[in-house]
Amino acid sequence: MQYMVPGSTEKMLAQMRRGAIEYCVLSLLRDRDCYGLELARALAEADGLVTSEGTVYPLLTRLRREGLVDATWEESPNGPPRRYYRITPDGRAALRAFSTQWKRFRDTVDLLLD
């Protein structure tokens, strides 16, 4: 009861990140467009956000489907052309709404945990 069984930390993190990760993607796109590899690496390098780079793509696919992100092709100075992802006005609105709620939620949880 007092200790965490192995594996459950991972499960707990998975549940926590599920609700937040799409807003992390939107946040990465807030100031500039990114191509897939950049986004995947940034999220994979942020501690605990995604289990592997490839899992970013189903999420990006849904964000495009929902119109929160769109994609355009651009030439690359080296290598193949890249698909750049861009946050849409709907995406910005969703990000603003989440940021507000997230801060309140975080403060409430912090208050109870302390």
Binding site: G36, E53, Y57, P58, L59, R62, S76
Partner: protein, 270 residues
């Protein structure tokens, strides 16, 4: 060596695709395409193409089953329902624009494609005009969209960077179904290439009636009854025919044109 590395990539992508079984086709295709791009971009940045370096790229992407498990948790179907009305509206608007362009550019061509006879009747005389735009060297695989509704086909094409043109025809399959495409699904095309889609039905083909010999008012009424619009292009002196009577028409009687097309008439000036 490069072939060997390509084979490793292809095998990985095939596993991703296989594991994504159960995810809607469109999303499955998008995910595989994006991962394929990820690998290409990462490989282009390698100082040297080695199997170890490639394996490391794939290791960081993660096991295909993890990607598939993530994909299954995403609620693609919910998102689609939300957006389907808007997408359809766009597709219909595009169809109307396509119709306008088709008419303005070549009514004759259009008449050849749209048939008033029952059943599918399509002529492919002008089907392929896949000229690249902006001299772009980017090649993509053209999605196969035959059999799909236009509202689904359009985002599949634009998602991979292709453009599209809509041509309408009559047919026995439901309205809005794509029955022909050029270039074909699976072929390579450069980004920006317009894919010509032949779609059933938003324009209903009608036969042009004869209005030569009728008065302007009668002609307008006859054409309106068929869903056609009369436009008077001019009048010419004619001592055989009373003033105000139609002396010629274009397209001629018997031609098939889309509903709401213009029929130009010339009147006698007497």
């Amino acid at each position: 060596m490069s072939d060997h590395l390509d084979a490793i990539c292809a095998e990985y992508l095939a596993r991703v695709e296989a594991d994504l079984a159960g995810v809607p086709a469109r999303e499955r295709r998008q995910i595989v395409e994006q991962i394929s791009e990820h690998i290409s971009t990462a490989r282009a940045a390698l100082p040297e193409q080695s199997e170890d370096a490639l394996r490391e790229i794939l290791r960081r992407l993660g096991p295909p089953e993890d990607i598939a498990a993530t994909a299954r948790r995403e609620n693609f179907s919910g998102a689609r329902r939300e957006r389907s009305a808007a997408s359809l509206a766009v597709a219909v608007a595009v169809g109307v624009v396509g119709l306008g362009i088709g008419l303005a550019a070549a009514l004759g061509t259009f008449s050849g494609i749209v048939s008033s006879s029952l059943g599918t009747n399509v002529k492919s005389d002008n089907s392929t005009h896949a000229s690249p735009v902006r001299g772009s060297p980017i090649a993509v695989s053209v999605p196969l969209v035959i059999g799909e509704q236009l509202s689904r086909a359009v985002p599949e094409l634009t998602d991979v960077g292709l453009e599209y043109r809509v041509i309408q025809t009559t047919g026995t399959v439901p309205i809005g179904t794509v029955i022909m495409q050029a270039p074909a699904g699976g072929s390579a095309a450069q980004v920006g290439t317009p894919v010509q889609l032949t779609v059933v039905g938003m324009a209903i083909a009608v036969g042009v009636p004869n209005v030569v010999g009728k008065s302007q008012a009668q002609a307008a009424a006859v054409l309106a009854a068929r869903g056609l619009v009369m436009s008077v292009t001019g009048s010419a002196a004619n001592d055989q025919v009373a003033a105000g009577i139609v002396t010629s028409q274009e397209p001629p009687a018997g031609a098939s044109v889309p509903s709401q097309s213009d029929v130009s008439v010339t009147l006698s000036a007497g």
